[in-house]
């Protein structure tokens, strides 16, 4: 179909070069040193593979610190900073609700059986796997680390294809247009409906071109 090919070309054109090769590490701060190491290394079974311990350097006032990494597979790691002699500021205390939890880590597994193995293994090691959600494209389990940070393990049910990519382009095109119009009129978006209505216009226009 001409449309799908066009969408693929447009996305490919944007990511041709330079390329990324997946996640090397993500990093967050911790004020629970022992608990964090015990959780990731001993309960999850992720190898501790690298640790930097350094005198404060860089910007003035930067404290001495530890920066340590756990192997999360396929060349990726999850890392933490432990700042010595610094009290946890309120703005870095994790909020256990939808806005705070939007910052989370989701690891992939290749098969649904592996997802279920993880659930059983975590529960056997005393981790509360408090939710399993079958989303559109992914099947996920959710749990928390000692910092309260939200963790997810997910199995992607099918590959993302050109239809998904084209639809994503149209969703964001509609959302940006509607948001910009609202901003120009001095208002703000209140719900998703305006975006969905604009999206229908884009789909009708696309259908007319076919």
């Amino acid at each position: 179909m001409q449309l799908k090919e066009g969408v693929m070309q447009s996305n490919e054109g944007r990511i041709a070069k330079p390329r990324l090769q997946g996640v090397h590490h993500t990093a967050r701060p911790t004020w629970k040193l022992r608990e964090t190491v015990e959780f990731y290394r001993d309960r999850m079974g992720l190898a501790l593979v690298h640790a930097i311990s350094a005198k404060g350097w860089g910007p003035p006032g930067h404290p001495d610190f530890l920066h340590f990494f756990f192997d999360s597979g396929n060349g990726s790691t999850i890392a933490f900073f432990y700042y010595i002699g610094v009290e946890q500021p309120d703005y870095l205390r994790h909020r256990v609700q939808w806005d705070g939890d939007s910052v989370h880590t989701s690891w992939g597994v290749e098969r649904q059986e592996e997802l279920l193995e993880w659930k059983a293994a975590l529960e056997a090691r005393g981790v509360d796997v408090f939710m399993r959600v079958h989303h559109e494209l992914i099947d996920s389990i959710y749990f928390r680390d000692p910092n309260g940070y939200l963790l997810e393990i997910t199995w992607q049910i099918r590959p993302m294809n050109a239809l998904d990519a084209g639809d994503a382009e149209r969703t964001l095109e509609a959302a940006i247009a509607v948001e910009s119009e609202a901003a120009a009129a001095g208002t703000a978006l209140k719900n998703i409906e305006g975006i969905w209505r604009r999206k229908a216009q884009l789909v009708r226009a696309l259908e007319a071109k076919e």
């Binding site: 179909m1 079958h134 559109e136 084209g166 789909v203």
Partner: protein, 81 residues
Amino acid sequence: MAAIYLLDVPEFQPIATSARKQGLTVTTLRSGYIRLQSPGVLELRRKPTGVKLPVWFGAPTGGLEGRIDLFDKDLLRVVDE
């Protein structure tokens, strides 16, 4: 006319199948979407579709014609504007 557009991928196809049984006009478009429509008021019940809430609440992601009068875990009602 009240309508929603589903993306034509496996997750949303049970909704299209059920919508036809629920009396809506279902049209598969060449652009990769499925249009569900009804003159005046479109009503779609979730239970017969068999989809879980995360898919249900994202079903109109392909587009909307009309105004959402009700959208809860059991029922979507779109009215012609």
